[in-house]
Amino acid sequence: MERVRRMPWATALVGVALGLMLSMQFKVQRQVALADLATVQRMEKLVAQLAEAEAHRDELAAEVEALRQQQLLSVKTQNEYQALAERLEQAQIHAGLLPLMGPGVTVVMADSSLPVTAGENPNNFIIHDEDVLRVVNELQAAGAEAISINGQRVTGRTEIRCTGPVVTINGVRTAPPLNIVAIGNPDELERAITMKGGIAESLRFWGIQITVKKESLVRVPAYTARLRLDYAQPALEEVTP
């Protein structure tokens, strides 16, 4: 203790340093804890927002469907608009806005049943957006008149896109097995998929299960996703009457 008196300030400095370091470390750790808490809170908020937005979207889709039915009905009931209604119906058929039925095929695609062995890329054994796109493309090329995938109508504005482990079609997430329904000549559609060196053969190489079945009557639902155009508008002067 006598020696302390020889260097009181150096000894005090030890205390100051210890106190400073301790309080600084407490402050930093409190910040770390707060940051963790903020991340969790933000995540919970975003999840709630997503659920809310999805519920809202479903509500609006139902409303759109109801309004379309109503519109069709009111147009059809009036005789003077009969011709107009027919043209509207044709336009709606081509735009994919009406459910259709007729002969065709159903194509079912499911992920590979083969066990993935070590060293092989497991990505090769699951269905990707491009596989679906190739099947749809083949069906279109073979003259399919209407196509739907898991209840989603394929139109000119339809996207088929990988979003993580699922495929998004018309903004709706769907997962394998994919049930692709096409209306058209059943024989031609089936041949388009199963031809030698075709899409089915190359997918089966990876064990991806794809089956094509000819049907005498299949149903394709109407396009129910968003129709609003924000940028495009009719170029009327180019329309030939």
């Binding site: 203790m1 302390v4 100051v16 210890l18 106190g19 301790l22």
Partner: protein, 133 residues
Amino acid sequence: MWIIVLGFVVGILLGVLSPFTLPIAYSRYLSIAVLAALDTAFGGLRASMEGTYDNTIFISGFFMNALLAAGLVYLGDRIGVESLYMAGVVAMGIRLFQNLGIIRRLLLRRWGLLNGPEAAHPHPEEPAQAEKE
């Protein structure tokens, strides 16, 4: 003795009141330095109770240990031995508990609550050297 406590209070006030906060990236090094400083502080307390206290050794040990501990962890991070941090925590933690145990025994003996032969070093196999390192 009291001058250290006074300095400690001043240090805490400085730390709490200053607007400056250490970036989180450096908190690893500060934490190990704090542990080393605590270890030296208790080592010094123990040495003063045993009568082997030396101010120069204590002060130099305090700052050197803190700097060396942080420096070694930094070196470990640079050369890919991140677990050097753990090694430091374990080593420092064991010494802390040892010093605290010895301090407790010395206090008990001083208050007459401990019978038995007089022992300046309750752990003779570990001579009092904490403040020397």
